[in-house]
Point group: D2
Chain length 288, copies 4
């Protein structure tokens, strides 16, 4: 949806209860906010309530600096709401981690160039130098942190300092071939987006195209998900597939797979940037 | 969404204006209705407001017989809302029109048998006898109205009497090969669903697979739409496609096309039955 | 491809070697056969040669009764070819096994009615009576073999006698909810087609839609495969997928899944009937 | 298919006649060529014969310099074959034409960087300067030919000289927003690949996404085709689609469309580079 220049986006999770939607829409209406978009979902099997509410700030009477405390005061504690407030003119700061494969990075750079996303691509981190010239030709800072068994913990600490220094909001693993430690993933909970080159939960781990070829599948897939401590097991954000046949070798799987990897990763980044994702247990609500 | 046994479904169109969503949710909340599902959409280019609101009737205080008048009284005239109210335990009465091709009819019968839809398939009308035994083996009334140039107007009147007699709510054209007159389509405005065997607006009219083959397309499609006076030009509800190649003859196009025709038609019927469709000009809003 | 009334279809596997294609095409040409279609594939990773050769019988000089022995004599033993010869006017005899779910059976009956396949649907076997009336309304013989732990082996023997009696060429498991014993599957090696309601190898076994929902996938799939002794692990013939979202419950997964189950099963049956499938290890070559 | 280092690729069209495949395979076999891949297709409706034959050059006895004349001598004139011979180690020289939109160009550069194609991207031609820095950061020559009504014929002549000078084999129009003259398209017949941002034949010409939005379609498409004198009417090579909904504005159509435009264009380029395309009338045979 194309929207007016300035609007607020409120994401809410709560245990379901009568009147939550009426309460929230009424609250915004009384403060002068015109609701531009509302999507609400009740997960009947688990009793969860999920809502995304977008309102126009033109005649909204609460100053931006006071809105969070206004929400804290206005929402009754016994509604047990967890909420997140964002603004359309916030500009997120993204870091991309990559290794050698370039297709996802190129695709991201292409979208940055086209102005498709409201994001600052502030930093690229890699354990190799091989994508440095591409990054730098686009004027993006490229930092190399080589990783081996001995230095992994130390290097991760240095990477975190680097992310902090550049005030990074979220991290995209664009075919980054290192497993991040649990302390790293927990620090950036629901803020690290990975692309895995299989139709999860089939073929987690390394070499999924080889496994898929061996099994003789007729379709291959790609899955983007938030990274959690368990490898390739985090909440799935987006998936897509492409047909293969007996004519395709493992190399063909890899080549065809690249096209869906980059598209699926971009869809996940878009949804994240538009504050359309709520994580519920190990699943996501991705609003339309 | 699986839902509780009894709930109300309100579909609303209006010129967009501040406070419409808050007004409606508040109205339902004050009457004791727990909102189960809400989808709302503002078409910025045309200033239209569209909403689908579902609430639980368990503690709802307005008796069902009074709800329409309560809505009329409660909604201010200057909101210029057009609305439609339905209930989850309403059971629509559907008629299917068919000619010779059986795949869509079989598919509908299959869903009836599986209990996929809350619908009464009350009547099948055809201009041929060839599907009579299938219909009757499932215990469905099958009426033949043969059509030629001379009798068309008279027969359509007889068909309408038949639909009235069986209190038919909506009509599905399951590859019915007759063009309905304008007076017929206007009587059942937004209540006749057709399946056209092309990716509209490409290839309207007859023999679309022949035209598609001649043009050398690599994908063929099917489109379901509400029928209007202009042939194959009504508001599109659902579309889908399937790949073809140089190996496929026109007959292969026809055979492959059947699979998407029946699936796309079923999707449109499902959305119609769940009161998820609003028509706006010549387009549809199909809520998720 | 639409083809002339009578033609021969030769499927060949062999260890790859120079000259195999030239040998076979030359052999057919010298005997007066006009090649209508040829597809040939070399699997470089395993050195396998696969070919499907279709020729017109109009001017073919070998009498049909002698063709197999002509092939045996003409093809040198040191080519180690395994081959299968079929004719376009052979009419395979198919049995369908079902339990309670009717959508795949209806879909098969629909295609039988439309004359989509050159097949005789000679027999439906079930462990329940619930689909009997549908089958019999179409004039198809329906036999019930109830299965429990105690009688399974005996009943399978009775089923095999029944298949033999009706000279069944291949069996389709149309959501048949019993696991066939190893002796049964070996007797009908590469002649039992199953539809599994997941995107294999994800979610083998029972309740795949429940598992898929729990994992929070964004796409669900269906897979048809030849049945082997290991459950849901046989060579995959066809797969397809459909999108799901957080709005979909397990019941929605089941309902949406039915549409791809029946389509994917039908594609596998079509390929089998057209003699387009070669099994190589645990994978299939499915010619176009 | 992964293939051995050096092989020959022969594409053949002819009026269908008995023995063509046998003749060609035998001809190659007798000269020592091992057939690696063969696809053959007879278009029954028009009586056309199409073949793609790949053979290993390891033991092939005809020197490369003599192969074309060997084919001319060996193939009887009364077979009326048109053929084209290529080698796996030929390296085509490609020029890309672009205007302002960068997504297709980035995607091509990404594939060049990944080594996905055996091609030299020798030259980028544009009527604007805006993509110059991207091109030059990758070391690709970028030439600007501004076009207006007055200078169009002259500039096209200059462009052709430039293509000649760089020995360009084929041209890719990567969202190039100028219509090429008939004399230009005829000079590069079947050697100019365009990407059109609609599902042809729906919405040819300019602003297809606006037209699609106005019509209320539920799926949008992209089509790559060889350019002919008639705008957007040339033989289609590849097409793909993506779902849209009422939530999507024209800008969303444009944004979503970019993802299929670049993928579909890349598929067409791949098929062209692998010598998999034969043009027959206004249709293509695209071998697998």
């Amino acid at each position: 949806m194309s929207q007016t220049p300035e609007y607020a986006i409120l994401l809410v999770c709560a245990p379901d209860k009568k009147g939550l939607t009426a309460f929230l829409t009424d609250m915004v209406y009384r403060a002068g906010g015109n609701i531009l978009d509302l999507q609400q979902h009740v997960d009947n099997s688990e009793g969860g309530f999920f809502l995304r509410l977008v309102w126009d700030l033109n005649d909204f009477q609460i100053p931006r600096a006071d809105t969070e405390s206004w929400l804290n005061k206005t929402i009754p504690a016994d509604m047990h709401m967890r909420w997140r407030l964002n603004y359309s003119d916030d500009r997120a700061r993204m870091a991309v981690f990559a290794t050698r494969e370039s297709h996802c990075l190129y695709d991201i750079l292409s979208r940055i160039h086209a102005g498709e996303w409201d994001v600052d691509l502030s930093l690229i981190i890699s354990n190799h130098a091989c994508l440095q010239s591409i990054a730098e030709s686009q004027g993006i800072l490229y930092k190399i942190f080589t990783i081996d068994k001995a230095n992994k913990a130390t290097q991760e600490q240095a990477m975190i300092r680097c992310l902090d220094e550049h005030r990074i909001d979220f991290v995209v693993l664009a075919r980054y071939m290192q497993v991040l430690s649990q302390s790293f993933t927990e620090k950036y909970r629901d803020r690290i987006i990975n692309i895995h080159h299989s139709f999860l939960p089939a073929f987690p781990g390394s070499k999924p195209y080889h496994s898929a070829h061996l099994r003789g599948v007729k379709i291959i897939g790609a899955s983007s998900h938030y990274v959690t401590a368990e490898l390739d097991a985090g909440p799935i954000i987006a998936q897509d597939v492409i047909s293969v046949s007996h004519l395709d070798t493992v190399d063909d799987f890899i080549r065809k797979g690249r096209d869906i990897e980059k598209i699926v990763l971009a869809r996940a980044i878009s949804a994240h940037l538009q504050h359309k994702i709520l994580v519920s247990g190990n699943r996501t609500v991705v609003f339309y």
